[in-house]
Symmetry: C2
Subunit: 119 residues, 2 copies
Amino acid sequence: MKTINVKEKLSLIHDLWKPKVIAELNGQQVKISKVKGEFVWHDHKDEDELFFILKGTMIMEFRDKKAEVGPGELIVVPKGVEHRPIAKEEVWMMLFEPQNIKHSGDVISDLTVDKYEKI
Amino acid sequence: MKTINVKEKLSLIHDLWKPKVIAELNGQQVKISKVKGEFVWHDHKDEDELFFILKGTMIMEFRDKKAEVGPGELIVVPKGVEHRPIAKEEVWMMLFEPQNIKHSGDVISDLTVDKYEKI
């Protein structure tokens, strides 16, 4: 039951595409991440995923369309929907998703994180 | 899969202590609320609750201590822990919590909301 300062936690992140856990509740985790460039196409079979953008603008590509998500905006990607986050400039985000979610679904890439560090 | 602008959603809220649902995922809801003054002491038997402050400073009182939560800060109140949010000035917040949570636990007050409106 302590106050968590998101900016302070963000200052501890020095690598891209490596989400860190800052809070847990109800089997869900709150993560923060800094990203730049393109992630891999993937989906999550059983988990919906929320992206809340804190800085920069993320393009969320879907197979048939794309969405632009800027600071103070969020998007929910439902389970089973293929998506690819793209950040032309560095983007800082907060994620809200189940604690057992796999970073890049069943796709393995150089960016895949196996275990989420808590900070 | 559409972008949700939190500030735009906040501009639709004209009443205090009445959380509105802006997104749903994995049996959880994202709500936003404007509050001012003191809420009632209560707990949630089965649900953890996350408060992410967007504007103003909230005091979260517990029976044995209190925490100050300012803009860009969050706090998780675990299930079963009695708490009372206090806002000396108007506070805008985002909430993450299970979709079946009762607003003021088993306590009924003038501020209790029975059904959460989606905006």
